[in-house]
Symmetry: C2
Subunit: 205 residues, 2 copies
């Protein structure tokens, strides 16, 4: 699957659940797929235009005039299955948090701790979001056929978030053992004695 097709996959997939407008599409993608997927405005409309040109979706004047609801066609459903069957596009990782921690000596332990605490808080928030999504999906039950699959994605997010929290706690503990190490001397200064504002930390045994 070429990369461009990924947007088409998401759009076709969403329309396979329910016909909607481009605007609603973006809202739904943000709200429902947001945990693991994102599309920007500038991609959705071109994708819709292209899909319509290929007759994989069709536009229906919803009731009177303006707002056009897009619905998937049989050919579109076939194409969706084809796209979903294509190998998963490997993602090039770019984790800004870990990049900063890797060069953590330049930042010093205090700043690193802050970064980790922030990440932990984010994971907690994520967990709360997912709990809400899980409840909604299980109760509302408008799409019982899909909800089993949707649960898989929610569960994936929960596992990842819990792992992040566990890692953060472990890391905060580990960081206290390097606390006494000062960051290396500033670029323009010769090495001065370590004058970190941190009180002496406990050595690890």
């Amino acid at each position: 699957m070429s990369r461009a097709d990924q947007t088409q996959t998401a759009v076709l997939g969403a329309l396979s659940v329910l016909p909607m407008t481009g605007y609603a599409l973006r809202e739904e993608i943000r709200a429902v797929l947001g945990h693991f997927w994102s599309e920007s405005f500038g991609q959705i409309y071109p994708a819709l235009a292209e899909l319509e040109r290929q007759q994989l979706i069709e536009r229906r004047g919803a009731d009177g005039s303006r707002s056009s609801v897009f619905a998937i066609t049989p050919a579109g459903t076939a194409r969706l299955r084809e796209l979903l069957s294509a190998p998963v596009q490997p993602v090039r990782p770019r984790n800004g948090l870990l990049l900063r921690l890797f060069f953590g000596r330049q930042l010093g332990p205090e700043a690193c701790r802050t970064l980790i605490k922030d990440a932990r808080a984010q994971a907690e928030a994520q967990l709360a979001d997912l709990a809400a999504a899980r409840a909604e999906s299980q109760e509302g039950g408008e799409h019982p056929q899909d909800s089993g699959y949707w649960m898989l994605t929610i569960s994936a997010g929960e596992h990842a978030a819990r792992a992040a929290i566990a890692w953060a706690d472990e890391s905060l503990a580990a960081l206290s053992t390097v606390e006494q190490q000062a960051p290396p001397s500033a670029g323009s200064l010769p090495e001065s004695h370590p004058d970190t504002p941190h009180p002496p930390a406990k050595e690890h045994p």
Copy 2:
């Protein structure tokens, strides 16, 4: 931090550990930061040129002539700390595996199971890689000052990989309970045509 600066951060960071050529830089980034970061060739050289122009790094004719080793300057170290202190760039998620599973009904349980098994295998492989990296970092010990921080990134990868494995096992079990559900009718059949926004459900008997 603008996005472009992220490459500069990685390059400056790597050179802060050890001066090296652009080629070696790419190899090191791939080998050492590979678990959480990536840079493509086409970005490294322009970044090096720009950093040299700003005198944040300097080029040294290594021994005789050709291969130029880049070394960070004091100003470069200062800039690195500035970059590392900037807020982490939020990443827009794009998880192709979860996208496929979310629309799993179109694929059917068997294909989904395969996807999950593949993901599990990948996580296992990742875990093995990280174990090797951990061993190397702990024994080799060429950079004792940094190794504590490096361990944090390895640990993050391990937590994530273990979470992925646990999720996969759980999901494979869950999927067996939806096993009997057939994927919805093929694209050419009338049920999936938009005339009926919700294709009739084939409930399990």
